[in-house]
């Protein structure tokens, strides 16, 4: 069974601070996805990482993938209140029929 674990599950941080969310997965895969969900809304795709060492950045968010460690990170730089949301990572692999498997999500609250 493909398992995806995120930590922390809840993160409260001050504006202007940096922090990292971690996503570990249990099997070989080089396809990892990050999504954002605002309260009461659906999921919005943030990043698609498709190779070892892949790094993508959008504004204050940067995602990276280490397939050997089976680890992806989502780094937040100088957080602002607008980044408050729930962040999910997801993995798929042909070994499991290409089905997307999600982590439990990380609730991020940025305090003004």
């Amino acid at each position: 069974e493909l398992k995806v674990e995120q930590n922390p599950l809840f993160l409260s941080m001050q504006e202007g601070k940096n922090y990292t969310i971690y996503c570990n997965y249990s099997t070989t895969s080089d396809r990892l996805y990050w999504y954002r969900q605002d309260p009461g809304k659906s999921l919005e795709s943030l990043f698609v990482l498709l190779s070892n060492g892949a790094v993508k950045q959008e504004g204050r968010l940067m995602a990276s993938l280490d397939t050997k460690a089976r680890l992806s990170t989502l780094h937040i730089t100088a957080a602002v209140h607008d980044l408050s949301a729930t962040y999910f990572c997801a993995v798929n692999t042909m070994e499991y029929g290409n089905k997307l498997v999600f982590g439990a999500g990380t609730i991020l609250r940025v305090k003004s």
Partner: protein, 114 residues
Amino acid sequence: GAGVSQSPSNKVTEKGKDVELRCDPISGHTALYWYRQSLGQGLEFLIYFQGNSAPDKSGLPSDRFSAERTGGSVSTLTIQRTQQEDSAVYLCASSPGREGSEAFFGQGTRLTVV
């Protein structure tokens, strides 16, 4: 349409009634997922359709739940004899099905069983 469309957006039903939730995926997308999200919780996988392959039904919580995908496009999730614990937001997503393609989510159907 441009995105994944789900209907209805909200549904209130009495306990014991059957409900049908509809998902129109993005045109040309061969993969379709149904997830359930209870208040403040993560995503619970329900079912996955990929092209003409047999669907992965491993996430359906009971035999009261079923789903169809007609003509490789529209999907209907049916819940029979609804229970209060079925109350949740039901999310549909579709993807092109190619290796490395991301999934796009609809806005969800909020189901309330009273």
